[in-house]
Each structure stands twice: as structure tokens, then as C-alpha cells.
Amino acid sequence: MRSEGPPRTARWLLQHFGSSPSNESVIGDLEESYASGHSALWYWKQVLVTIVVAWFAEIASNKVKTLSILAISCIHLIAVGTVFRYLASGAANPLTSFTFTNLLPYSWWGHNIIFWPVDWLLTWSPLFLISLTAGWTVAASSRGRARAMILTAVMFSCSVLAVPTCRMLLNFPNVPPYFGVRELFVPFQTIVGIVLGGGLRTRPAAISLKKGRTYA
């Protein structure tokens, strides 16, 4: 028996994305098995299989709900794309222009050290807010199955964003680094926004059974 715990990242993933009704017991069983001598690789494999199997089981038993989550994800991605196209249409986004002409001294526009953070913040924060709202909506509309449905939204968004992200990466040497990084951050913040927005709505896993017999 060993003293150090199982891989933290794997355990975090299982705690936050494991959608089995028995998730807490699964984590306990995996920790017990790991303490008895299994390897970190074994633990990772178990965690990934557990997340995928529980996720598929939830999707299979909630097909209508899954379709509605996919519809929410489609609307979310269209909104992100439309708003990003609007904000990134020029050298500076319209919100940045407004800020430097009305709120900040206009002379600051010429200082990169001030301009860049303001421009990035005003480009990303509306997009991040949209993704946060999408994650929250997914969790709020899937009571009891929030984790599985957030994972569905994340996987769907990842698969849709994979192609444009690869295209951006291939095109990265041909655009100024400032624009390249600004574009590449969009898929990243989209996924993080969904996860965090869903997390705001999802409480830590509660053990569904009290001690003693619950079903006869």
C-alpha cells in the first residue's frame, strides 16, 4: 500500500465530468484500487473509460435532452462566430475605438502596452460572457444530468471548432502575431466558458443514497 494519492488531474476530471449516479463511489473504488498497487497509467485509463461509458449511458437514455443541448450549442457557436467577426473586423474592435474616444485619453491609443490589453479584454470578454451563458443554460436546462450535458456541449464545440482552429494554426505564420493569438484564443475561451458557466450551475456531486437500504 502506498501513501501518495492518485494523479490529481485524472481525479479532477472524474470529479467534474463523471456523470454516473454512483460517481462518488467510483472515485472511492478507484482510490482504493490505486492504493493497493495499481499504476498511474491504470488510473488514467480507468478514469477515461469511466467518463466515456457514463457519458454514453446518459446520452443513450436522454436522446431528446441531448438534441436540445446540441441545438443550444449550435446557437452558441453561431453567436460566438458572429460577434467575433464583428469585433475583429478591423485593426481594433468597435468597443476599443469607443473606449479610447470616449472613456480613456485618446493619446493612450498609440501605446501598445495599454492598447493591447484593452483591445484583447474588449474582444474576449463579450465572447467569454456568451460562452459562460451557454454553459449556464446547458446546466440549468439539464437538471440532474448537467455534467453529461455540459460534456456533450464541450465535445460538440470541440469537434466543430477543430477545423477552423487547425486552419488558424496553419495560417499563423502568415498573420501578425497579435491577430493570430487573438483568433486562437477564441476556441480556447469558448470551451473554458462552457465548462465554467456549467460549473457555476452544477453543485459538487452529492451522494445520492443515505446509509442503509434505499430500494427494495
Partner: protein, 110 residues
């Protein structure tokens, strides 16, 4: 209500629960199936089957003790219900009938 049937992995899990009796929780169930089948089994797959069996009313669960090596998490013990036991008997009868009179299976060679 439509009648619920046992899938092949569910049948393996429920038979293991009967074998283990009072000590049937995730770890020993998975070990027993691995030993008897000679295959690597993921604990997550066993729990997915147990959750399905619980939904069908073939097993019930109760929380047991928590230990330090489990990170303070309680064990979830599973027991077979009377309906589950009846379903296993039915599956046994059906499979026995299906196995009888098959010349390809005689002699224990594939």
C-alpha cells in the same frame, strides 16, 4: 410496462453479485469478473451495468463504511432483488434450452 431483460455483461455482473453475497461493491465485483473471465474490466463499465440493473429493479444499493484509502468515500454495496433473482433463473432456463442439442458445442472444442 415492458419487461426488462438482462444483457450478457449485466448477467455476468448479477451472477458475481450473487457469488459475493454481502461483500459486493465495485472493487471485489470487478476483480471477480476479471479473474473468472480473464479479461481486463473497467470499474466504470461495471458501475454502468450496475446502474442499469438498479434502474430495472434487479439490484438495490446501500452505502457502507468509508475508509481512509478511499479518500473518505463510502462503499456502495449492491444486492440482488427477488425480481433480479427470478430474471437470472429465467435467463438460465432460456440459455440451457438454447445450449442443448448443439453438435458444434460438444466435446469442448471450438
Amino acid at each position: 410496462m415492458a419487461r426488462e431483460y438482462l444483457g450478457s455483461f449485466e448477467l455476468m455482473v448479477i451472477l458475481t453479485l450473487i457469488r459475493l453475497g454481502d461483500n459486493a461493491y465495485g472493487v471485489p465485483i470487478t476483480k471477480e469478473i476479471e479473474e473468472l473471465s480473464g479479461r481486463d474490466i473497467a470499474i466504470g463499465s461495471v458501475y454502468a451495468a450496475l446502474d442499469r440493473l438498479e434502474q430495472k429493479g434487479f439490484v438495490y444499493a446501500e452505502l457502507g463504511e468509508s475508509t481512509p484509502e478511499r479518500g473518505g468515500r463510502a462503499k456502495k454495496y449492491f444486492r440482488v432483488t427477488a425480481t433480479g433473482l427470478a430474471e437470472v433463473r429465467e435467463a438460465q432456463r432460456t440459455l440451457t434450452k438454447l445450449w442443448q442439442g448443439l453438435p458444434q458445442l460438444r466435446g469442448g472444442k471450438a
